[in-house]
Structures are given as structure tokens and as C-alpha cells.
Amino acid sequence: MAIAQARNVDPALIQRTLAQHKPQIRFTLAVCAHCSMCAHSCFLYESRREPKYMPSHKMIHSIGYLFRKKGNVGLQELHSIGNIVWNRCVLCMRCYCPLGVDIPYMIGLARRICREQGVYRLYDEG
């Protein structure tokens, strides 16, 4: 499914949004035990059985990536993050984590950062 292309990336804006949620993002990434128990809670993982559909994987490679890179990402990276959070996740809000990490919130944050950069899901193209 198509993701809109941004013209350029504004790292300062990404950094600002990240900073607003820095404690929660940092705690989340630190507490995630990489246990993969969230896998079975995602119906997309259940039907496709590919690790890249695991909620933790999606979270780590979207908001986790943005956070680790401190917002300094290029167009390509932003587009592939957009692909993760819109084409591999529907935000059905049902992923569970034994440690209580709020994964949907993290995906939602990644979507917000993408949207602020002009990257978003297109519903009128194939």
C-alpha cells in the first residue's frame, strides 16, 4: 500500500516530538525484554508468521530507530518507517506485553512523527 513521499526531512521537528515523549520512549525501549510474547497478540503475525510483524519488532524498528538516531534520519529511512507503521500495523490496539509496555502508543507516536514530515498512508492509491 502506498505511502506518501516527503520532499525533505526536518530533524529538528522530529527531535521536538521525541523530546516531548522522551521519558516514556526511553523507559519503553529499556524495559522491553525482547521476549517476543507479544507476537501471538497480533493477528497480522498470526496469519503471516513473519518476525517483522511482531509488535515489539515494529516498535523497535520504528520509534526505537527514530529515538536511537536522535531524529537524524533520511527520506529513505522515514519512508521505510512509514511502511512499518502503516503497512504492517493497523493500530488495532490489541497487542499485549507481559511487562505492560504500551506498544500501540509507540506505533502511534511513530505515525505522528511521520505525518509531521509529510509521510502518511495513502488510501486513494493502490
Partner: protein, 223 residues
């Protein structure tokens, strides 16, 4: 050397452990706030409406656990619960540890027999091995794993391994017991500052934050 490691250094390790956890708890409360009380008015559900929706008692009783983690992945759920319980209980109920505490502070915590704790130690080591293998063999866990995960697993495994070897006096007792104390201290100081902090965050997150799987109705939200 041993005197220092099992005396002042141990004290430092415990202080760092307790203070570190305390700091993390404090930070959690600083980053969250009280949830606003729900200020809406609506007709409350009645028991008979609820009952009409549910299947007969005999059915719901049998099926209740199916949607939970215990229903979906029973083996893993049981293994991880046992692992965590034993991880914490074994050192606390260990006779050798409690004898040292009695000698140092005069109090006598309860202990299990040495035979039992020996078996429990082997069990913990077995679980560690299971998790290590799982991280290599299972594709979905492999996809998430980094060197950090393996290192931390080793960090948890070492105190139990060295303790077992030392207790059975298999070889080089003096070195092994030193390694055991150091490994235990290292693990303690690492807990508040690595993903092992899920030790308390499990409880903080699952009891205090609202969510589908929270154990209470969740009184705090992120700022």
C-alpha cells in the same frame, strides 16, 4: 580479598541495588500523573443483561483461560513464571546465605534444606539454558535479540553456576566462591540500570497503568 568482596562491596552492591530501584520508581512516578476521575453519567449495566450475553456457566468455566497468555502459550507462561519465582526465592531461602546473614546481623531468615535448594539451582540453570536456546532457535525471538540479551542472560546464569560449583566444591573453591560473590554483586548493581529493571516495572506498569491486561483499573497515566 574475600573479606572485602563479601563485606563492604556486598553492602555497596545492595545499596546501589536498592537506591537504583528507588530512583527508577521515583522517576516513574515523576513521569506519570494521576488519571482524572471519570466524570460521566450513564445507566449502569444490570446483572441480567450481563448474564444473557454469557454462555452457560459450565462452558465459560472451561474456556476462561483461553484468551490469556496461559491459554495461548501455556508452556512458555509456566516456564517463565517458575523461572522468575525460583530466581528470586532460591537465593533468599538458601541456607548458606542465611547463615551469613545470621552471623552478620543476628537475624535468622527461614531457609530450605540444602538438598532442595540444590535442585532449585539446577532448575534455574536449566531454565537459563532453555532461554538461551530459545533465543537462538526461535525465529521470532532471534529477530529481536542482540548481544545485550545474551550478556544479560549470562549475567543471571553466572551467580547460579558459580554458586552450584562452589557448594559442591568441584574445583578451585576459593576462586569460584569469589567469582560467585562478584557475579551476584554484578547482577545486583545491573538490575536497576538494564532491562532487568522489569523486575519492578512489571508491577508498576501492570498495576498502575490502565490497559486491557492491567491487574487493576489503572490509576496513573503518562504525562
Amino acid at each position: 580479598m574475600y573479606a572485602f568482596v563479601s563485606g563492604p562491596l556486598a553492602l555497596i552492591a545492595f545499596i546501589v541495588f536498592v537506591l537504583g530501584l528507588g530512583i527508577q520508581v521515583f522517576r516513574f512516578f515523576g513521569m506519570t500523573r494521576e488519571k482524572e476521575p471519570l466524570n460521566i453519567s450513564f445507566p449502569k449495566p444490570r446483572q441480567k443483561d450481563v448474564d444473557a450475553l454469557r454462555p452457560p456457566e459450565g462452558v465459560s468455566k472451561k474456556v476462561r483461560l483461553k484468551g490469556t497468555v496461559l491459554g495461548m502459550e501455556p508452556f512458555l507462561a509456566i516456564v517463565t513464571t517458575l523461572f522468575h519465582l525460583l530466581l528470586i526465592l532460591t537465593p533468599i531461602l538458601l541456607l548458606a546465605h542465611n547463615l551469613m546473614i545470621e552471623r552478620a546481623w543476628g537475624i535468622s531468615p527461614p531457609s530450605l534444606t540444602e538438598g532442595v535448594t540444590d535442585v532449585l539451582t539446577v532448575a534455574v540453570m536449566g531454565f537459563c539454558l532453555f532461554f538461551f536456546l530459545r533465543r537462538i532457535v526461535s525465529a521470532r525471538v532471534r529477530a529481536l535479540s542482540t548481544a545485550y540479551d545474551f550478556l544479560l542472560l549470562l549475567l543471571v546464569f553466572l551467580p547460579f553456576l558459580t554458586g552450584f560449583i562452589a557448594y559442591h566444591q568441584l574445583f578451585a573453591y576459593k576462586t569460584v566462591i569469589l567469582a560467585h560473590v562478584l557475579a551476584g554483586e554484578l547482577m545486583l548493581i545491573c538490575i536497576p540500570f538494564t532491562k532487568l529493571v522489569h523486575m519492578i516495572f512489571f508491577f508498576l506498569y501492570r498495576f498502575l497503568l490502565p490497559g486491557e491486561y492491567s491487574f487493576a483499573s489503572g490509576s496513573r497515566v503518562w504525562r
